[in-house]
């Protein structure tokens, strides 16, 4: 049997910017990438969902605070509750924190400057659906571009939930945390942009390791359902 193409949705909110890059990257990594509109209350039949970067709802009140009320976000919460795979990138990470799917909050960069550059991160966990193509301790180079990326964990965060750590902390995140997952390990958020790093022509293709891991995990779920 030919290897099935998993169906991975990318939600577009008003103000999302990186939705098209995410769709393009997922398609390049052999997923069926499906655009999901924020007003759609019913997600199409999906094997995983990506919440992309951008400035949903103009970052009004707090980054990600308003996107939490989109019909599509409610469906994403349901999917996550049922064990579905959800990845939030940059603003998508902020939305997942505001929606309570991930612990912690993202605050204004310590420098008060918008940072836009490639940064090295280390992979802390290689056993997640988002990191199986990486190995623990591996160094990845990924672009960041954000003004509000300083991660503040809740006081009781299990250190095992840290997935990525900056080597050269660009925003003042506590303990250099660049990406975290939920306790169950099916929801992950990160500030760096793997979807902008899937082709060596763009400076790095390390992001493909994370996204291809997600595609692999989604494909396994399709096969398991047969």
């Amino acid at each position: 049997m030919a290897s099935p193409q998993p169906r991975i949705g990318v939600v577009t909110y008003p103000g999302s910017q990186d939705d098209r890059d995410a769709l393009w990257a997922l398609a390049a990594l052999d997923a069926e990438a499906i655009a999901v509109w924020h007003e759609d209350p019913d997600l199409p039949d999906l094997d995983a969902v990506v919440l992309p970067g951008g400035f949903s709802y103009g970052d009004y009140l707090r980054c990600g605070a308003i996107a939490r009320f989109s019909p599509a976000t409610a469906s994403v919460c349901e999917l996550a509750g049922a064990g579905g795979l959800v990845l939030g990138i940059c603003n998508g990470f902020q939305v997942l924190c505001e929606a309570g799917l991930l612990p912690g909050a993202l605050l204004r960069n310590e420098s008060l400057r918008f940072v836009c550059r490639d940064v090295p991160v280390t992979v802390e966990r290689d056993d997640l659906p988002f990191t199986t193509r990486c190995s623990a301790g591996q160094r990845l180079v990924l672009p960041v571009k954000h003004g509000d990326g300083r991660y503040l964990p809740p006081p009781d965060l299990d250190p095992g939930q840290v997935v990525l750590r900056y080597l050269d902390n660009p925003n003042g995140s506590v303990d250099g945390i660049a990406g975290v997952c939920n306790e169950a390990g099916n929801v992950m958020g990160l500030m760096p942009h793997p979807e902008h790093a899937v082709d060596p022509l763009l400076g790095s293709d390390d992001g493909a390791l994370l996204l291809a891991s997600l595609v692999d995990a989604a494909r396994e779920r399709v096969l398991a359902a047969y």
């Binding site: 009140l61 707090r62 605070a65 505001e98 912690g104 909050a105 605050l107 204004r108 960069n109 310590e110 420098s111 008060l112 300083r150 503040l152 809740p154 003042g172």
Partner: protein, 79 residues
């Protein structure tokens, strides 16, 4: 009824915006030991009395207006 919500970064939370404002005041010759920047939200709410209005606004703060991990809130209600 008019409710004013004051939202502040919690004590201990690094507030680089407040630090920048404090340092700018220093450049003007003002002696400021500490500056923190928060926000104000003014609301008009229908309620029988001030206590009811305050209770409703408290729910709003808990559910949306403040992120309790990083912010504290204070509510003032006036007729």
């Amino acid at each position: 009824m008019r409710a004013t919500v004051l939202i502040r970064p919690k004590p201990g939370i690094l507030d680089p915006q407040g630090a920048a404002v404090g340092s700018a005041l220093g450049h003007l010759g003002f002696e400021v030991q500490d500056a923190r920047v928060g926000k104000v939200i003014d609301l008009e709410v229908e309620a029988a009395d001030a206590a009811t209005a305050k209770a409703r606004v408290e729910e709003m703060c808990e559910q949306l207006l403040a992120n309790l991990l990083i912010e504290s809130y204070e509510i003032e209600v006036s007729g």
